[in-house]
Every structure is written in C-alpha cells, then in structure tokens.
C-alpha cells in the first residue's frame, strides 16, 4: 500500500474522492444539526429533536464501510445515519418540519427516518427495541443465503436493557450476520454510564455471548471505518455477529429539552477542543496533503448551501394531506365497519 502519494493517507485504502466525501458528510451532518437546532428554536421543528453533533465520525465511518445491500437499523438519534447514507438533506429537513415531502411523509419526525430503497429500515425510539429486529434481519439474510449483514446502531444505554441481551444471545446462538455497533457517548439521556452500567466498557458485555468485540475511538472516522470493514467481513463470511464499541461524545443535550444539569461545561469544552472528529480529520487530510485548505473550504461552502436549500425546501413543502391520515394502518383491505 502506498503511503506517501498525495491524495492518500498512509495505510488507508480510500481514494482522495472517498476521503473528501467522508469529510463533506461529516460537515454536512454537523451543519444540518446546528441548523435544525436553530429551526427548533424558531418553532419550525417540534417534539423531540436528538442531535448527533460530536458523533459524526461514527456514522460516516461505519456507513462508508458497509455494502449497499447491507441492512441498517438505528436508534432515534438517526439524522447522521440518514445523511451518511446519502439521503437527500432536503427530505431529511422536511421530515423534521413535518412535511409531506419528508423521508416518511411527516409521519415519523426526527426519531423515525427510514428509506427502504437503501435498506435503512428505520430509526426506532424505544431504547434497545431495534436490536432484536436487527437480529431478525440477520436471520433473513442467512435463511435466504444472502451475504448481507444487518448493522444495528444503538447507544450505551441500550446495553442495560433486556432486549439487548436477548438479541445478542439469538445472534450468537444462530450465528447470524449482525454487526452490533454501540455508540458509547457516555450518557444515557442524563445518566452517566458509570451510574447505569455495572460494566464500564460496553464491548465487554459481548463476551457473555461469545461474540468477538472491540473498542474503537469513535472520534476517528478512519479508525471507525477500518474496524467496521473488518467486522463486516467477519459477519459476511459466516462467522456470526461482531460487536464494536465506539467511544464518542455528544456536544448537545440529549434532546432540545435537556437542561444539562448532569455534566459540566468544561467537560463538553474539553471534548470539543481535544477530540472533535471533524477537526481531527481535517488536520489529517491537510497534514498528509490529501486536500488543500481551499478544497475543504469549498466543501464547507457547498454544505452551507445544501443545508440552506434543505431549509428552504422544507419551509416551502406542503403539510401532509389530511386525506392520508388513515392511510397505511393496514396493507390489505378492510371492508367491515
């Protein structure tokens, strides 16, 4: 592997355009979320809004490692995954606005993004509830002799829930191709990991089910990419599930309603200064001459425009047609009354 050519990073099998696309997606997620927070403050977005700011490297690194045919289910902090998959930011923003043009027609909002055409089977909002579903997707893949892996995204909080343990047991018992990717952002809502989990390292829980597991720096997009790539191969080759714990941090509150009484401003600042995934990746791209300041600035500018356009699109889109209120409760017809 070449290590000194401009446009590449030592030991990383990604082209310059791929690396820049990862950078762009991370910036897109950051700006999308910041603007969503502004729109929330303006009253354009309501309900729960869980922002992904600070965790961008996990979604971007993991999605880049996946095959297009792989299944994805996530927790409710799902905007970053949708954007990393390449879903249209306009439709993402429109969903937050509760508009007909949203990803799910304004029926799900922030927590329930989905796109069947990308095998993104949804954001799920009951903590740990998505994990058995992911195992079931893995079961379908194996049953049908496909080489698809089901990727499950969940937080540290989910690992204390019964559904987590049932899902890991099933996946290991039946050797299902499931990648369990735990985002340990240190807090389950407002409760620190240390107050909620008897085991501080989430990946160690996998050993109870004989699932190989490891920890990765979730602020390093390339590290996430590499470990996910390896883990997916493990699953794809019939070796059963794999478990990754990505150590990360969310800068914003759990949701927009969070008073953040449970952690210090200094702690948040420390992560922002020292461990920001975008800053770290940017430094790497510049120091290895993968990209110039100007190239990155151009990407930032393009993201600004895309996010502004997303807001404009969301603003101008129609609300869902009231006529559709009772559509999609049942797939097959009902004739009795």
């Amino acid at each position: 592997m070449t290590s000194t050519v401009d446009g590449q990073l030592p030991g990383v099998a990604l082209t310059k355009s791929e690396l820049l696309e990862m950078y762009r997606l991370m910036v897109l997620i950051r700006r999308f979320e910041e603007v969503a927070a502004e729109q929330y403050a303006l009253g354009k977005i309501a309900g729960f809004l869980h922002l992904y700011i600070g965790e961008e490297a996990v979604a971007v690194g993991a999605i880049r490692a996946m095959d297009p045919e792989d299944h994805l289910v996530t927790h409710y902090r799902d905007h970053g995954y949708a954007l990393a998959l390449g879903l249209d930011p306009r439709r993402c923003m429109a969903e937050l606005f509760g508009k007909a043009t949203g990803l799910v027609g304004g029926r799900g909002g922030s927590m329930h993004f989905a796109d069947a055409s990308k095998h993104f089977w949804g954001g799920y909002a009951i903590v740990a509830g998505l994990l058995p579903i992911a195992a079931g997707l893995g079961l379908a893949s194996k049953y049908l002799n496909q080489r698809r892996v089901a990727v499950a995204i969940f937080g540290d909080g989910a690992t204390n829930n019964g559904a987590f343990h049932e899902a890991l047991n099933f996946a290991s018992l039946w050797k299902l191709p499931v990648l369990f990717l735990c985002e340990n952002n240190q807090y389950g809502m407002g409760t620190a990991v240390t107050h909620a989990s008897a085991v501080r390292e989430m990946y160690r829980k996998a050993c109870a089910y004989d699932i190989p597991a490891e920890q990765v720096d979730g602020q390093d997009v390339l590290a996430v990419y590499e470990v996910t790539k390896r883990a997916l191969e493990h699953c794809r080759n019939g070796n059963g599930p794999y478990f990754i714990e990505a150590l990360t941090y969310r800068y914003r509150g759990h949701s927009m309603a969070d008073p953040e009484t449970y952690r210090s401003k200094e702690e948040v600042e420390e992560w922002r200064r020292q461990r920001d995934p975008i800053v770290l990746f940017r430094q790497k791209l510049l120091s290895h001459n993968v990209a110039t300041e100007e190239e990155l600035a151009a990407l930032n500018q393009a993201v600004e425009e895309a996010v502004a356009e997303a807001v404009r699109f969301a603003e101008e889109s129609p609300e869902p047609d009231p006529e559709t209120l009772t559509q999609y409760v049942y797939a097959d017809p009902i004739t009795v009354h």
Binding site: G105, G122, I126, A134, E166, F170, L173
Partner: protein
C-alpha cells in the same frame, strides 16, 4: 367437499400447506421443534421441515417477536409462537411499539407481516397462566386480531394470515383444540381476516362470543330452545377489525344482547361491543346489554374456586333470562 377435522389438525394443515407452498414461511418459538409444541400443534414438523424452518428458541418472548419483525422486513414470512398469551406481556413492546406501527410510521414503505400464534385458556394453572388478553391486542391500530372458534376458521384464517401483508395476532384456546368441525378441501381454502358470522339464527336475543365462549353460547342456546327461547348466536371470529354491523343487524332483530367473554369484564372486548352497539342502535334495545365475564380476581388454583371465576353455560343462560326480564333462577357469581 369437506372433511371433519379437529381444531388442532386444522391448524397443522394450514401450517404444513403454507410451508410447502412458500419456502419463506418458517416457524419460531419455544419448544415447537424437539418437544413438538406445548399443545402439539407442530408435532413432527421438525422432522418434516428441518431446524432452519422449525426453530426452537430460547425463552425470550421479546426477542422472538423482534426477530420475527426483522425477518419479515428482510423478506421472510415468519410464524412465531408465544407459548401462551400470558407470556405475550414480555413481547408487548415489540408488538405494540414496532410490529403494529412499522407500516404507518414509515409511511407505507414496508410492512412486517408477522403471524403471532398464541393461546389462552385455563385449567388449574393459577394466576399467571390463566389469563385472557385479547383486548390488549385488539386495542392497537395496525394489528389484526383473530380468535377462531371453529376448525374451518382456524385453517382459513391461519393461511390468510401467513399470505397477507399485515401483522396478525392469532389467538387460540387450549380447551378447544380437540373440537371437531368441517373444513373445506383444497390447499387454496383461505378466509378473509374479517367478519363476524351468525352461526345460529333466533328471534329473541343475540349472544355474541368467540373462542370457548362461542361453545358456551351454543350450549345455552340449546337449553333455552327447549323452553321456546330462540337465541341468535354470533361468532365474532375477528376482534380487530371489529364487524359491528353484523351485531347491530342482529340486535335490530332481537332487541337484546348478551356478550360472553372469558376475560375480566372491566375494560374488556365486551365493553367495546356494548359501546359500539348503543352508538348505532340504542333505539332498538329493549333491555340493558349484559356481559358474562370472569370474576375480577387473579385466577385461583383450587378447582372449585376456578369454576366460580370463569363463565359457564349456566351463567350465559342466566344472562339471557335477565335481558328477557325472566325471573332469576340461578345466582350469577359477581
């Protein structure tokens, strides 16, 4: 042409035929394979279809239903079994928060056509193993809830549930597996998953029930017929969607309604039926709607106490006499 089958054999036929018809159909549940199913519905299936398609699971109901949902989204046709309806409580999050909502919440992009077979009943099994929870499921938009009383419906519904695109909660009853009835021939005998049926016509009073309650109603009707009281019996068959029109039509004829259910009376299916009937036909009612239901206690073990709790034929007869303003002959346990 039709043959006589037991309720259990009707279910077995439905499962076998659908498994031969469609390789995506598979079964998953506790002790359904090596053990043969706790009510023997899947006895021999493991040998016939192999462990990929007849999957014994850990005792983990939430996981069983959750895996079913994922498998269905992934393109399979899972029939999952919850050993009894009492254990369905452990799977309630998956059933209510995910199974029932996936089609709507994600704007019709995909469905999760899971069939959840489960069974209720009693028989000196004490408080946690003798419950009737069909109302819990019937409450939830997005689920279809069927409760077949006769072998024909058991087969036709199960096949339709497996072929359909909606999640179905398929409720059986442990005390009617040996009941016999005619089942039409042919592998393509399927029934729509909706509609109540008038199974006995009568002019004096309408009795609505389902599962074992239907047989209590039949027994009561036969007894009352000897006195010249003609009961019209409606087998509800499907709890959601509720076919209230069939009930209303009958009440418009008989002007009297008795509902027989095995669950507790408060907040039960009977309460829903009574409310819906009075909304549409209050002018037709010549008597208050009566509900025959279980006494509101956790089920006791002792045989004599258990008998006091659940509905029986005599309680149904008594309720009919009450709506006909006849003298009370048998005390009704309350």
């Amino acid at each position: 042409m039709a043959r006589e089958l037991t309720y259990r054999d009707a279910l077995r036929e439905a499962l076998r035929e659908e498994m031969y018809r469609d390789e995506r159909v598979f079964l998953m549940g506790e002790d359904i394979g090596a053990y043969g199913g706790s009510y023997a519905v899947t006895r021999g299936f493991l040998q016939e279809f192999g462990p990929e398609r007849v999957r014994d699971t850990p005792i983990a109901e939430l996981g069983i239903v959750g895996l079913g949902i994922g498998a269905a989204i992934g393109g399979l046709r899972p029939v999952v079994e919850l050993m009894t309806i009492n254990f369905s409580l452990l799977a309630m999050d998956q059933i209510v928060n995910h199974l029932a909502k996936i089609y709507y919440m994600f704007n019709g992009q995909f469905t999760a056509p899971v069939v959840v077979r489960t069974v209720e009943g009693f028989g000196q099994l004490a408080a946690t193993h003798s419950q009737f929870f069909e109302n819990y499921f019937a409450y939830v938009p997005g689920l279809r809830v069927v409760a077949p009383a006769v072998p024909k419906d058991a087969k036709g519904f199960l096949k339709a549930a497996i072929r359909g695109n909606d999640p179905v909660i398929f409720i059986e009853h442990s005390l009617i597996y040996r009941n016999r009835g005619e089942v039409p021939d042919g592998e393509d005998f399927v029934l729509p998953l909706e509609g109540a049926e008038v199974r006995r016509e009568g002019r004096d009073v309408t009795i609505v029930s389902w599962l074992r309650g239907y047989y209590l109603a039949l027994g009561a009707a036969e007894e009352l017929a000897r006195e010249g009281i003609e009961c019209e019996i409606i087998d509800l068959r499907v709890l959601r969607p509720l076919d209230i029109e069939t009930i209303v039509r009958s009440v418009q004829k008989t002007n009297r309604l008795v509902i027989v259910e095995e669950g507790w009376k408060s907040y039960g299916v009977g309460a829903e039926i009574a409310a819906a009937v009075q909304e549409r036909a209050i002018d037709y009612l010549d008597a208050p709607i009566m509900r025959v239901a279980s006494v509101e206690v956790p089920m006791p073990y002792a045989r004599n106490l258990e008998r006091l709790v659940v509905p029986n034929k005599d309680k149904v007869v008594e309720a009919v006499r009450e709506v006909l303003y006849q003298r009370t002959l048998v005390p009704v346990a309350r």
